[in-house]
Symmetry: C2
């Protein structure tokens, strides 16, 4: 399933440049990134608007459907778009992707000590328990940061086992820090750890086993 040459080119993130280095794709102020940011904002606004509103949601829904129709009329073939998505560093993923309205988005930096560090603030769309982030969203942030930690260390792979320890509820609306580090490599097995924190307090810790290799990119 893996393609080591593709892996080396696409996943090794430390090119010897200055650190700390931003490893996630920087959002662009126009094009698809700006449209995705506007959709992300609209999702948040609607969730905050609520049900018992005098605002005319039916007209809004029709406007959005008509915009989606317009976009669909310009869509390329699926395989063409898949190749574009995977040509360079991905910008579409649900954790960090500036093109993806589902992504909060998380921003990750590679540090000089070999670990990575990320920042994210989770809005109302990511709520689990009242006022707190959903445990599955914390898992998404941590799993993604672990992938970056492996890329930054130069040996990446696919998650085989991920264990999450939820120590404290993770609050919405405040800056959260994600730290991740590759701890050991043995043959194709890669071990790593990650931590989700707020204000220096540990909220969730994760340990993971990755297996070296990646699925091939669409060609």
């Amino acid at each position: 399933m893996s393609d080591p040459s593709d892996f080396r080119e696409s996943q090794r993130l430390d090119d010897g440049g200055p650190v700390p280095r931003t490893l996630t794709s920087e959002p662009r102020p126009d094009g698809l990134d700006a449209a995705a940011a506007a959709v992300r904002r609209l999702s948040d606004s609607l969730l905050r608007l609520g049900e018992s509103t005098p605002y005319d949601l039916d007209t809004l829904t029709k406007q959005l459907q008509s915009l989606a129709d317009e976009v669909d009329a310009h869509r390329p073939a699926e395989d063409e778009r898949m190749r574009e998505m995977w040509r360079d560093r991905p910008r579409h993923d649900p954790a960090t992707g500036p093109q993806n309205p589902v992504a909060p988005p998380l921003v990750v930096h590679g540090l000089a000590d070999g670990s990575v560090r990320g920042e994210v603030t989770l809005g109302i769309a990511y709520q689990g328990q009242p006022g707190m982030a959903h445990g599955g969203i914390s898992a998404l942030m941590l799993d993604h940061a672990l992938g970056f930690a492996n890329g930054w260390a130069g040996i990446g792979g696919m998650t085989a086992r991920l264990t999450l320890n939820y120590k404290r509820p993770t609050p919405l609306f405040v800056p959260l820090t994600v730290r991740a580090l590759q701890t050991r490599v043995e043959g194709r097995k890669i071990w790593c750890e990650a931590y989700l924190e707020h204000d220096g307090e540990l909220l969730v810790s994760a340990e993971a086993l990755f297996i070296q290799g990646h699925l091939p990119r669409p060609k």
Copy 2:
């Protein structure tokens, strides 16, 4: 942190009605659910449109920003909306919420044998490896289904430890099945298991420890 009376009222899902019973909130054809469905569709359309398009994304972005401005002008106070969100069965969560464009959404049923079973199809917004679901999104689906399994069994809580075993890549665009079951309760500790499958094939398994209790709902 927990409020047992709130817990009993809000989390016990088996009211003795007929089974299989849909435990997730049914999407409504209008109002906030319909607007969220339109935003979800627009996210998908934009991600499929891609970067190298002659379509005028700048005009679209401006239209979306102006719609978000309009919605924001009608927003209630945050605490008022929080109370509304938590008054009845939640409709806003990032896994199953018909009001939440981030949710795929997953649909979950309570079965006669005490377990729960869900269905979800993951679109392009949930991509991890090429053509496959992000492992963190599988974690989100499984964690949420585990919560329902506890609610269906009548004793729920908060995730304390979640272990995910990724057996095979999880494909996008096909119907996936999530199964979850409470296996043991000992004092405040609750153990449960969940499985993500496609076409009868196991993709991801999960074991979890929950601790009884919930954060209080906003009043």
